[in-house]
């Protein structure tokens, strides 16, 4: 039994991932498009995941507002958010926001087209946010001083979350690959007085591990994805281990619903590539992501007083033979392998019956249908429990996610 796995970079459970039309889309919020019916929630549960950081895509320099959820399959969207977890915002650097690998025939290319432009869009957005904050501070001061009939500034949904970043009320999750862009964002953050927490992907993190460690910034990376685009050529599978040895808090993330079903194995790879200890490897998908997301007081380890978010395996979880038997969240079983297998026949039966019934209704003329009408009042389980299939859906490495 291990603490439930925490995926620090996920795009499941959402009806939309990217608002790709503008370079700064901080007005959009993943919480508004949560999709509790996404089957990937269940599949990831079957991989022992209990919490996930639901991020906006990486199409823009500054993407949308993000949140941490618990994978409470079968509950409405309003019950998914991890209570009290700090909200976040997605940043992205490099090839995705500068649209290197995407062009639409007939459409003008979107600004920015270079890493310099990416930096400029972030800088410009925070300059604007600083002015916006000042406008509101001035207004509030004058109102407090008793001035009447003042026209308030307009509320701006794009700038509000950036002001929250400046005030330390919102975490920045920045997608990045190359060492130069990592250092760039560290400088910009220092200039405007905010902190990045953590860098995401950060494939060249091993080159700037000391800088990351001294800035107190975490890194959430892949185990061994490599070379799927130019900026990923210098990735090495020892990245997680090397950064860990330099004192960086490191996690292994999925960025992908399928990858998330075997994050335990992804963590185990760091024992082979970099010789992390068993516990250090396990921390990459449990306690470390909890620290990076600021939820380690409640989850990430098995401790008295912590949430009962647990994954139960039939082998050592870092073994290639390990299969999740049960996944619990808040002490409640949300995935049970035995029950799942037992349910499969039942589900197939219902599917078949419904398919047949609907086919009949379609074929028969109206008159024939009349005698067999009876309101269908079958009791039904609260949510469908389809079979988790291991390798479903192609990995979207290098995509805009």
């Amino acid at each position: 039994m291990i603490p439930g796995i925490i995926d620090c970079h996920s795009h499941i459970a959402a009806e939309a991932i990217n608002e790709g039309s503008v370079s700064v889309s901080s007005m959009v919020n993943m919480e508004e498009v949560l999709d509790p019916d996404d089957i990937d929630i269940y599949r990831d549960l079957a991989g022992g995941v209990t919490s996930a950081n639901i991020l906006h895509g990486s199409a823009n320099s500054i993407g949308g507002q993000t949140l941490v959820i618990k994978l409470r399959w079968g509950q409405p969207a309003s019950k998914l958010p991890f209570e009290g977890a700090m909200p976040g915002i997605k940043f992205a650097l490099g090839e995705n926001p500068k649209r290197s690998n995407f062009s639409i025939p007939g459409q003008p290319r979107r600004y920015p087209a270079t890493r310099m432009g990416v930096e400029e869009t972030i800088r410009a957005a925070f300059s604007e946010a600083r002015d916006y904050k000042k406008a509101w501070d001035d207004y509030n001061k004058r109102v407090a001083a008793g001035e009447k009939n003042l026209i308030p500034p307009r509320r701006d949904l794009k700038l509000e979350p950036l002001v929250e970043v400046l005030e330390g009320k919102r975490y920045v999750h920045s997608h990045c690959y190359r060492e130069d862009e990592i250092l760039m964002l560290l400088r910009v953050a220092k200039e405007f007085g905010f902190k990045v927490r953590p860098f995401q992907h950060v494939l060249e993190g091993y080159k700037v591990a000391d800088e990351l460690a001294s800035a107190g910034v975490g890194a959430s990376t892949f185990s061994d994805w490599w070379a799927y685009k130019v900026e990923a050529y210098d990735a090495i599978p020892s990245n997680a281990a090397l950064m860990t040895r330099r004192g960086v808090i490191v996690s292994i993330n999925s960025d992908d619903a399928e990858e998330a079903t075997h994050l335990n194995q992804e963590a185990a790879k760091s024992m082979k590539y970099g010789s992390l200890s068993h516990d250090e490897a396990l921390k990459l998908v449990t306690l470390n992501p909890a620290i990076q997301l600021g939820i380690d007081k409640r989850v990430g380890s098995i401790d008295v007083g912590k949430d009962a978010d647990l994954a139960v395996y039939n082998h050592d979880p870092l073994s290639a033979y390990a299969v999740v038997q049960k996944t619990l969240i808040d002490g409640r079983v949300y995935f049970d392998r035995e029950k799942d297998i037992a349910n499969r026949a039942e589900i197939e039966k219902e599917k078949k019956a419904l398919t047949e019934k609907l086919k009949q209704a379609e074929k028969k003329p109206e008159e024939k249908k009349a005698p067999e009408k009876k309101p269908e009042e079958k009791p039904k389980p609260p949510a469908p429990t389809p079979t988790p299939t291991a390798a479903q859906g192609a990995a979207t490495q290098g995509g805009v996610r």
Partner: protein, 562 residues
């Protein structure tokens, strides 16, 4: 010129005399015209606002119901309609449609109408795909053929809104008859419909995802709220203060919100429905939901927030050209199976709901779709209420229509039986007190001899002189005939037609000087030619029809259409 004028007068005179004759004829087909005095005597009346009344009389005086009672006095000027074996219901309401707005020529975006401006929007400030100032009341056009077909289906009223964009424009309550477009408008505006549909994909400008749409709409509400406050503060003290910028979207919405307009929010499945409930709260607007088909899962939650629902009657079906390899999920199958049970679930939870036609194109299928809900447990009374009084209540017009009550607008539908009965026919409809007799396609008594399908050239002589027209006919296996008749007056659909043995009968409704008028072609078909008479306004003309060779017929048709 003068000669022509004279001819016209003569024709009109002839028409007037024939009209006078008509009054005594039993087969009256007066359609529309000025609202007159009518009395339906001895019918079963289902007022919806109260229990049904057997053997009752309804008096309609120039557009208004002036009496509903067992033995209401019939004014001497009223045309009396024998209501024996007939049932009278309030006119049906299609609670969300664009009937009355003819389809716009296809444009780049979805749903017709204006989409994006030439410039791509770079953010909410560019007000992408927003035209809240458009109005169903302003865009109504009598040339929309659906006005007549909806009326024939028993619908006297639609809640009509323009389509296209996130804020497509304001909805109006329209009655489906009138001499001029303005006659149709009962109340405007009554709602602000929203759409969350984007053009999809990158490169279309802001917003291109559900994420962006929701952020955009929220920003618009905030801006509108700000503009109301800022404008008021500025008016109080304009000196030394930068004036708030005028924005047409904000100005229109500000006025609507100050009038507590209903905001219609799309939501069909459970996730969307729960999201809509939260959005309405977050946006602090007076909201209603349209779609609602998975309401069977969340009806109590909708009821708890007292939100009205407009239920989409186009029940989900298997995709026609779906990949046979792709198997629908259990959830999809359950949805297809259970969606018609939504109205019953809403009723049980106490949600106020109405029905709308959505993408149903044949009005007779609207009632059929509602029948599915009745089969799935909805009480027929509640179904009827959803089509009438509930719809009127949701849109704030229950004080003037939606039930059969003294003083209400004379919107009525008259049937020969239960509205949801499979064999029931709609006999007539009153819209604002104008009488329309519905056309049920007649079926032939005997098997048809031969196939009448094809293009026919019809020749006859009117008081104006010899005339020709073209009949383009399509005969079904059962002998019913559909198609068009084209003359210099335009093209008219055949409303009802059949071939029984060698006897044919075709009825079309053609716009003459007097307004829309039924024209009936009856006679015999000998396999090669047609011979018979045209009956119009009680007057009869002989005609002959031939089927020119294929090549020739095309020319004839074109000639006839000029």
């Amino acid at each position: 010129m003068r000669l022509k004028l004279f001819r016209r007068c003569a024709f009109a005179l002839c028409m007037v005399t024939s009209l006078l004759l008509l009054v005594r004829l039993p087969l009256v087909r007066a359609q529309g015209g000025e609202p007159q005095y009518f009395a339906i005597r001895g019918a079963k009346v289902v007022p919806v606002s109260g229990p049904p009344i057997e053997d009752a009389t309804i008096v309609v005086s120039r557009g208004i119901i002036t009496a509903v009672a067992k033995d209401a006095a019939i004014p001497p000027e009223a045309r009396v309609i024998d209501g024996k074996d007939l049932t009278v219901y309030p006119g049906l309401v299609d609670a969300f449609a664009d009937v009355g707005i003819p389809a716009a020529p296809p444009s780049g975006g979805e749903g017709g109408g204006p989409r994006r401006s030439q410039e791509q929007a770079r953010g909410p400030q560019d007000r992408p795909a927003s035209t809240p100032w458009r109005s169903g009341a302003d865009e109504v056009n009598l040339s929309d053929k659906r006005i007549e077909s909806w009326r024939n289906g028993g619908f006297t009223t639609v809640i009509c809104a323009p389509k296209g964009g996130f804020f497509p424009g304001e909805a109006a309550v329209l009655n489906l008859a009138g001499e001029r477009a303005g006659d149709l408008v009962v109340k405007s505006p009554v709602a602000i419909p929203l759409s969350f549909q984007t053009s999809g994909g990158f490169g279309g400008g802001f917003p291109d995802s559900l994420l962006g749409v929701l952020a955009y709409i929220r920003q618009v509400w905030l801006d509108t709220d700000w503009s109301i406050k800022a404008q008021a503060l500025y008016e109080k003290n304009p000196r030394g203060v930068a004036r708030p910028r005028y924005d047409r979207t904000e100005a229109t919405l500000a006025e609507a919100l100050e009038n507590h307009a209903l905001v219609l929010i799309p939501a069909n499945n459970t996730v969307q429905l729960r999201r809509a409930i939260e959005l309405i709260e977050r946006w602090q607007v007076k909201g209603a939901i349209y779609g609602g088909q998975m309401g069977y899962e969340v009806a109590p939650e909708i009821a708890a927030k007292k939100l009205p629902v407009l239920v989409d009657l186009k029940w989900p079906d298997a995709e026609k050209d779906a990949d046979p390899e792709s198997k629908p999920s259990l959830r999809t199958l359950r949805f297809r199976d259970r969606s018609p049970s939504t109205p019953a679930a809403l009723a049980k939870a106490g949600v106020k709901f109405a029905f709308y036609s959505s993408s149903i194109t044949a009005p007779k299928n609207i009632l059929k779709a509602a029948k599915k809900s009745i089969d799935a447990g909805l009480s027929p009374d509640v179904a009827l209420r959803a089509f009438t009084l509930s719809a009127a209540e949701i849109f704030g017009v229950a004080d003037r229509l939606g039930s059969i009550e003294n003083g209400k607008i004379a919107n009525l539908v008259v049937t020969d039986g239960d509205l949801f009965g499979e064999k029931t026919k709609i006999k007539m409809a009153f819209v604002d007190g104008r009488l329309f007799e519905a056309h049920e396609p007649e079926k032939p008594k005997d098997p048809s001899e031969g196939d009448i399908t094809g293009k026919w050239k019809l020749s006859y002589t009117t008081p104006e002189g010899p005339e020709e027209s073209t009949a383009d006919l399509m005969m079904d296996k059962d002998g019913t005939i559909s198609g068009t008749i084209t003359s210099h007056r335009g093209t008219a659909n055949i409303i009802s037609g059949y071939l029984s043995a060698d006897k044919f009968s075709l009825t079309s409704n053609i716009v003459l000087d007097q307004g829309p008028t039924d024209v009936m072609f009856t006679g015999t078909f000998d396999g090669n030619s047609l011979k018979g008479s045209i009956t119009v306004l009680g007057m009869s003309l002989d005609f002959t029809g031939v089927k020119p060779g294929n090549a020739a017929s095309t020319t004839a048709a074109l000639g006839g259409a000029q």
